[in-house]
């Protein structure tokens, strides 16, 4: 493997750690395991499948057309069409960013006992400093290395010896015997936490910034499968551990504090710090990715300079934008909103807006004017359309049910 390929793989793994295994995936997978055992494994599997295709498409699109996704959507479909989905996306990003900052605060709270409301501002400041002074590759590499900590979940899952037959059954969609509303709500939350639109913007902007070309296509494919596969495996690990630990005890998980002890029965005294560490690193990575991604989205809508590797002085509006976004998200967290509820809700909301983001994107990666002969194959197109449509339809039904009957 060439050095450039390796670098691309790092971008994939960071996109995966920051975008896949973050507070959303951890919360949804753990809650799903605790309530329904292995029954929702299929939701992780199918959304990952959709995600792999979508990540591959956004990398390929950027490499061949030399355009970041948000730039291309405005160019191809025009300002009028673009503005509403953009606004929705920025709004959802803001909620998810708040949830991620909440996740970092929570990781610290678990260890120190300090309240989230007091931690939100200092954590946001730290996040801002990292983005302001850091370079893309520095942020990528440190998150990727620290994120390897999450392997703890797979190790724990392995040590718990899950029944392979029962596991495999979980990959086939089935109806729950009870709690149907919660079940479907969790299924779409899993889809929303896995297929996050900000990941495509982050990944395609990174690919443009690192000047990918047609030679990058093979490594792009490997990265999509490897990086997202890695994230998927970790999520499955979380679900299995949670199912094995919580389900037999009939514990209704409704706060992060309960989730925190999930690793302890298996990994002993290392369990708790590893959980807090994984949560903190993943959420921090995701928060960095979200703040940048929202900056890219806005800068690419209006045509400003952007890029994580330029100095803030050379891209004043872009830098100001992500700074404001971080402040707003921190303010949301200081209101004392319950971070677990905020997370689950914003993940389901992501699933609702998915079609508005994915449909234009699909048309672009199938447009010869932009990608020449590198248009998408029918398998990828079909998988993406089915996953996205099913997720958003279930979301539209499940969210009102959850809000009406749920907690």
């Amino acid at each position: 493997m060439k050095k450039k390929d390796l670098m691309n793989l790092t971008l994939g793994i960071i996109t995966s750690i920051g975008g896949f295994l973050e507070v959303g995936s951890m919360a949804t997978a753990a809650t799903a395991g605790a309530l329904f055992g292995y029954k929702l494994l299929w939701a992780i599997f199918f959304s990952t499948l959709g995600l792999i295709f979508l990540i591959e498409m956004s990398g390929r699109f950027a490499a061949v057309s030399k355009r970041a996704l948000a730039d291309a959507v405005r160019e191809r479909f025009g300002f009028v069409f673009t503005i509403v989905p953009r606004l929705l996306e920025v709004l959802v990003n803001l909620l998810v960013l708040a949830a991620e900052i909440g996740g970092v605060c929570l990781a610290i709270k678990l260890v120190t006992g300090w309240p989230i409301v007091a931690l939100a501002i200092p954590i946001a400041l730290l996040l801002w400093l990292v983005i302001w002074f850091g370079t893309l590759s520095w942020i990528e590499n440190s998150t990727a290395i620290l994120g390897l900590m999450t392997i703890a979940f797979v190790v724990a899952a392995w040590k718990l010896h899950p029944d392979p037959h029962e596991l495999l059954r979980g990959f086939v969609p089935s109806r729950p015997s009870e709690g149907a509303a919660k079940y479907w709500f969790l299924a779409v939350s899993i889809a929303g936490s896995t297929i996050s639109p900000y990941m495509f913007h982050f990944y395609s902007s990174g690919a443009v910034e690192e000047k990918w070309d047609e030679e990058s296509l093979t490594s792009n494919r490997l990265t999509a499968i490897g990086g997202m596969g890695f994230g998927c495996l970790m999520s499955i690990g979380v679900l299995i551990v949670s199912a094995r630990v919580f389900l037999p005890l009939h514990i209704q998980v409704d706060s992060y504090e309960q989730l925190a002890v999930v690793l302890s029965p298996v990994l002993g005294r290392w369990g708790f710090p590893l959980f807090a560490g994984s949560l903190g690193v993943c959420c921090f990575g995701a928060a960095a990715e979200l703040a940048l991604s929202t900056g890219y989205l806005i800068a690419q809508t209006f045509g400003w300079n952007w890029g994580e590797d330029r100095r803030p002085l050379e891209e004043a509006r872009f830098s100001a934008t992500y700074s404001i976004v971080i402040v707003l998200a921190a303010v949301i967290m200081t209101t004392g909103l319950d971070p677990l509820k905020l997370t689950l809700f914003s993940m389901a909301l992501t699933a609702v807006i998915l079609p508005a983001v994915i449909v234009p994107f699909l048309l672009l990666v199938n447009d010869e004017h932009y990608v020449g002969k590198h248009v998408s194959g029918w398998i990828g197109n079909t998988v993406v359309v089915i996953v996205v449509l099913v997720a958003s339809v279930i979301a539209l039904v499940a969210i009102p049910l959850e809000l009406a009957g749920g907690s």
Partner: protein, 117 residues
């Protein structure tokens, strides 16, 4: 050249490669008995807002006037277009262009004041 596909809503870059904005509008000049001339590219918040509604355009104009940093719309003569491939490249010095006024404002009034800007 297909004006909608190849020019409108594309990224504009100046001579120096800096990003100046997007092609928010294109001005055609109608002439008696002759084909319309493609006269200007237009960019700015008022041009963008007008594409959504007249009311939004009025708000953009008032807001720009109050803030006094940049004109609500700004035109680039079409014969300054050097290339239109991935981006529309124009023969304009970005750093002194009025279209870059907000970028300069943010740089000088906010970013530069943040240590160690």
């Amino acid at each position: 050249m297909k004006l909608v596909r190849d020019v409108l809503d594309k990224q504009i870059r100046g001579r120096d490669g800096e990003k100046l904005g997007k092609v928010d509008g294109i001005i055609l000049e109608l002439r008696e008995g002759e084909p319309p001339r493609v006269a200007y590219l237009e960019l700015g918040s008022a041009t963008m807002a007008r594409r959504i509604s007249r009311r939004l355009e009025r708000w953009a104009i008032v807001l720009n006037r109050k803030l006094g940093v940049r004109r609500p719309r700004y035109r680039i003569a079409f014969d300054r277009v050097l290339a239109y491939e991935v981006d529309v490249k124009v023969d304009i010095d970005t750093r002194t262009s009025p279209a870059f006024a907000w970028e300069r404002w943010f740089r000088d009034h906010i970013i530069r004041r943040i240590p160690p800007g």
